[in-house]
């Protein structure tokens, strides 16, 4: 198991290097001059040129990328062109906000999506199932930015119940979290429903009924653990998309998170901040994937045995031998 974790962590290194190459290349070809942005329209051409030289912007692509990577290996993401502060500091100041948004949204999706999905499957074709299916369809099809604006319009502008922008307390989280999690709630509901429907038709559910087990316990003890295996993957993907949903929603709700930071940085041609932001999000994705894979092993003993098998190769043979020798 430990070896598997270490191997997975090592695999993320080439992934992250790939991410830096792609984002660096993209920023290299982006129009606009950071030096001009920093100095403003009043600066002379000579001044701008001087700054470009100083910042290394005139160096060839490979030299610039090499320098960036060298700094990166020393844990230095560079300094923001706008504030002059280290990018790491800028990110660390904003990351908790985005993470909080993503975690709250994910939690809300799980808390609503899984129970509704289960009920939908158990009471298939009931009114509840039909309503849930319809709402899930709406949740998936409505674009997040439109929903965000509608929420502001209804709850902030018309009703005046909730704040529309900023981040000064818990109530500021409500609308963005709803807006971000709408898609995930819908996706998780649908996934739980279909997975559950498949599981409750399995033979082992019939076995449980033949034992005289109650329906409630059949669902919670036998069906749920099996049905959640594919749902876990979806939760992982939804958490990740919640983070990217944060980019749009932070912009709309004016929340100072990573997403807003990156959009602002792109506008200002603030390359180090953009690169740092993308890199940190990629890193989070990788870690999240690893956690999901480990969760699998926790839920599904078949996968756990596979990990264990890699560690102690003699064990399965013993099992097989022991298994076949026994007779009545």
């Amino acid at each position: 198991m430990l070896r598997y974790i270490i191997r997975r962590i090592l695999v993320t290194i080439p992934v992250l290097i790939g991410v830096t190459l792609i984002i660096f290349t993209l920023m290299y070809f982006t129009k606009g001059d950071p030096a001009r942005m920093i100095l403003g329209d009043m600066a002379t051409e000579e001044e701008v040129e001087e700054l470009r030289e100083e910042m290394g912007l005139n160096d060839p692509f490979l030299v610039r990328y090499g320098n960036y990577m060298l700094d990166l290996f020393h844990g230095d993401l560079g300094d923001s062109y706008v504030t002059g502060l280290p990018v790491t500091e800028e990110i660390m100041a904003r990351l908790p906000v985005t993470m909080r948004l993503a975690v709250y949204s994910c939690a809300l999706s799980v808390i609503i999506g899984i129970p509704v999905g289960i009920l939908s499957a158990v009471k298939q074709y009931s009114i509840l199932d039909n309503v849930a299916t319809l709402l899930a369809l709406l949740g998936i099809t409505i674009p997040s930015f439109w929903l965000a604006m509608m929420l502001i319009l209804v709850f902030s502008v018309n009703l005046g119940w909730l704040p529309a922008s900023g981040l000064y307390g818990w109530q500021y989280y409500i609308l963005p979290v709803i807006s971000i999690s709408a898609v995930s709630i819908a996706t998780i509901t649908r996934m739980t429903r279909s997975s559950m429907l498949e599981v409750i038709r399995q033979d082992y559910i019939r076995t449980a009924r033949a034992k005289g087990q109650t329906e409630a316990k059949i669902i919670t003890k036998h069906a749920l653990k099996n049905a959640l295996i594919p749902v876990i993957t979806v939760i992982g993907i939804q958490f990740a998309s919640g983070m990217s949903g944060a980019v749009v929603n932070e912009q709309i709700f004016a929340i100072p998170g990573i997403g807003k930071m990156m959009v602002d940085a792109i506008k200002a041609r603030n390359y180090p901040v953009v690169q740092g932001g993308v890199l940190i999000i990629a890193l989070l994705f990788s870690i999240l994937n690893l956690i999901i894979d480990l969760l699998y092993a926790f839920v599904d003993p078949r996968i756990k045995t596979q990990y264990a098998r890699k560690k102690e190769k003699h064990k399965p043979q013993e099992l097989a031998a022991g298994g076949e020798e026994v007779s009545a």
């Binding site: 082992y204 005289g212 045995t305």
Partner: protein, 331 residues
């Protein structure tokens, strides 16, 4: 057949189970009647689609509803009609008074729960015991079916097919039921393992004095374990009786066909004689005898009315126009 009604452990009368699907009514089981005495083994034989499994599920009151429904008939177990029990009574019947061994051991066990927990579960449902005691009971059951108790904490995927079926048997026997319904328990297993599992089931049945309904399409299995046999075709019992009677004094053309399609070591034949044609579509059964379209002895009378069971020897009943006539003639 009704002569033993009072003494029988299980007595099924005119059981009719249909599945109401979008493409029509599937007449899976059509008015079957049989009795099972305490400690007796009844073989229920028939080809795929004859309604054997539906009958078994009917006896457990586990017919998937919708689309399945018990349309008619009674199932009397120990004097109670199962079709009239409420949910709670049914739950205490299932697993304790009657339990079922399923066809495919690969899918009958929950893949994410240890076998120990799965055996202990049935113990905990029916006996007022602590979890630790239930697990101890589970360990004992594992030993009984020939699996070392240390494997209590293992998951189903760590067992071979034959071992999984032993676990399923352990679950079925855990609460010492009066009746075991075994739905093709050896079909999914290798021949060598089949013999082992059958041997084990026979031994445990005698030990626990349990009655058993052995559902199979394998006449060899029937010969090995059963006292009585009922041959099913298109949801009906076409011939039933004590095992020697059926094997040595075969009457119904379908049963004869079944025996003819078995290879034999004693008599050399160039080719086996299969029964030609297919079982009729259960959504569209012929009006008369369902076997008539495939029967070599088919007469005009066959396609117009369904023959009534006729007793040709003590306990040996046949549903066929051929014997109906001879019975009439005798009278």
């Amino acid at each position: 057949m009704a002569q033993n009604e009072s003494g029988a452990l299980l007595s099924v009368r005119n059981l009719t189970i249909h599945y109401f699907t979008d493409s029509g009514v599937v007449q899976a089981v059509n008015g079957i009647s049989f009795d099972v005495q305490q400690g007796e083994t009844l073989g229920l034989v028939g080809e795929t689609g004859a309604g054997k499994t539906t009958t078994a599920l009917g006896l457990m009151q586990l017919v998937p509803d919708p689309p399945g429904k018990i349309v008619e008939g009674t199932i009397t177990f120990n004097g109670r009609d199962l079709t009239k029990l409420d949910k709670k009574e049914l739950r205490s019947y299932r697993g304790r008074e009657a339990s079922m061994i399923f066809q495919d051991p690969m899918t009958a066990l929950n893949p994410v729960t240890t076998v120990g927990e799965q055996i202990a579960e049935v113990v905990k449902i029916h006996k007022k015991v602590s979890h630790a005691e239930a697990l101890k009971e589970a360990a004992h059951m594992l030993e009984t079916v020939g699996i070392p108790a240390e494997r209590l904490g293992d998951y189903p995927h760590q067992f071979s097919g034959g071992m999984k079926q032993r676990v399923v048997i352990a679950i079925a026997l855990a609460c010492n039921p009066h009746l075991i319904i075994a739905d093709e328990p050896t079909t999914a297993l290798d021949v060598t393992i089949q013999a082992q599992v059958l041997e084990l089931m026979k031994k445990l049945q005698q030990e626990y004095k349990t009655a058993m309904i052995m559902i199979t399409h394998d006449l060899g299995v029937v010969a090995e374990v059963c006292d009585k046999v009922a041959i099913m075709y298109a949801g009906r019992i076409v011939e039933s009786g004590p095992i020697e009677e059926i094997y040595e004094n075969t009457k119904h053309p379908y049963t004869k066909g079944l025996f003819d399609s078995l290879p034999s070591l004693n008599t050399k034949v160039k080719r086996l004689r299969p029964i030609h044609g297919l079982m009729p579509d259960p959504t569209d059964l012929p009006p008369g005898c369902p076997f008539a379209p495939r029967c070599p002895h088919c007469t005009d009378a066959c396609s117009t009315h369904m023959p009534e069971p006729v007793e040709v020897a003590p306990g040996h009943q046949v549903c066929c126009v051929l014997y109906e006539k001879s019975a009439d003639a005798v009278q």
